[in-house]
Symmetry: C2
Subunit: 208 residues, 2 copies
């Protein structure tokens, strides 16, 4: 049975979910597929392209048109779907963020934001900028949220059973405030900030 492009992608996603982005190497992927490293290069020209395809798969479906008819709900729904898609895979946010920078993933999520902002009544140009701001916020927040969660998970496993006296020392320390409150609440707050900003923009347009 021959290896197909989709099998390589599936294998890569499996390693990502189980071991994380740091352990996703072409050599590990090859051996998990029972193949020599060089074989992968028949299906993907290089690792970057493979990562781009993975990012596309992670975001698949997140850009479908919203069912809400009010523009603010539509933006919120999109943002939540986007965040959900990133959180559904280990290191998903980091992977997508880094492939966005190298422009090797499609920009359908951004396009969906732009389209919704345009539907709200913004000009094409403003909608585009709004789409970028939303994208950057969602990506930035989720990368942060996910790495924080993974650090906490690691910390819980590391120093909880190891030394009881240190267990409650640092983590609950300086910046505990609401940073380890519900991340969904934190996400919602910044999202509302941006949506309110759009509303203000629409209002000032209407009066001018």
């Amino acid at each position: 049975m021959q290896l197909r492009r989709g099998d390589v992608l599936d294998g890569a996603m499996a390693i990502l979910d189980e071991y994380g982005l740091g352990d996703l190497t072409m050599r590990k992927l090859a051996s998990s597929l029972g193949v020599q490293p060089g074989a992968l290069y028949w299906h993907f020209p290089n690792k970057q392209t493979l990562l781009g395809a993975m990012a596309d798969r992670i975001l698949d479906g997140a850009d479908e048109p919203s069912t809400s008819e009010s523009w603010d709900d539509a933006i919120a729904e999109l943002a939540h779907r986007f965040r959900g898609a990133l959180l559904a895979h280990r290191d998903g946010a980091e992977l997508v963020a880094s492939t966005y920078a190298s422009r090797l993933t499609t920009s359908r999520a951004r396009d969906a934001f732009v389209a919704t902002a345009e539907r709200a009544g913004l000009s094409r140009a403003y909608a585009e900028l709004t789409g970028y701001a939303l994208l950057h916020y969602v990506l930035g927040h989720t990368v942060d949220e996910q790495s924080r969660a993974q650090l906490a998970e690691l910390g819980a496993l590391t120093h909880a059973p190891l030394s009881p006296d240190v267990a409650t020392a640092q983590p609950a320390g300086a910046d505990a405030d609401l940073l380890d409150g519900d991340p969904a609440v934190r996400f919602e707050f910044g999202l509302r900030l941006l949506i309110d900003g759009v509303r203000a923009r629409l209002a000032s347009r209407a009066t001018s």
Copy 2:
């Protein structure tokens, strides 16, 4: 003359500015300092820590209290200073963004945002969330802006003299719109969105 921690940091910054983050390896750094790779590990426990120190240096001074007395100008000034600091070094935004995720840089820039948001009249908790939203936006925008600029620079050098017939084909294509307009204008737009969002929050607090 012995190598000091500061010399290692200086050498690393020099390589960053001249060759970029991808070419900043411990081995290249060592040879540029006329020393064996192992020597670096007397001054820094590992590469991550060195990158964290570089991020701190890049952000140095960007968090000084604003001179503006209105809270919105203060936020804007801070955001612009932050962006400027990131753009002042090759791959500066990417470096800071990735060290932020691994929590190996100080969070003075974020703290400055939080303090200003608190001065605006938000509760500590809301100010904290606002600080994060601002930080994520600035970081996300600037990473994008910088990588875009570097791609364009590379593209101009690459396919302008190489093949005249392809020169104007793809780059000026689909998403030209205002994405290659003044990046400072693009930055300003999203920033205003967030500031207007904060204003709306303050207003709804006042009336409730």
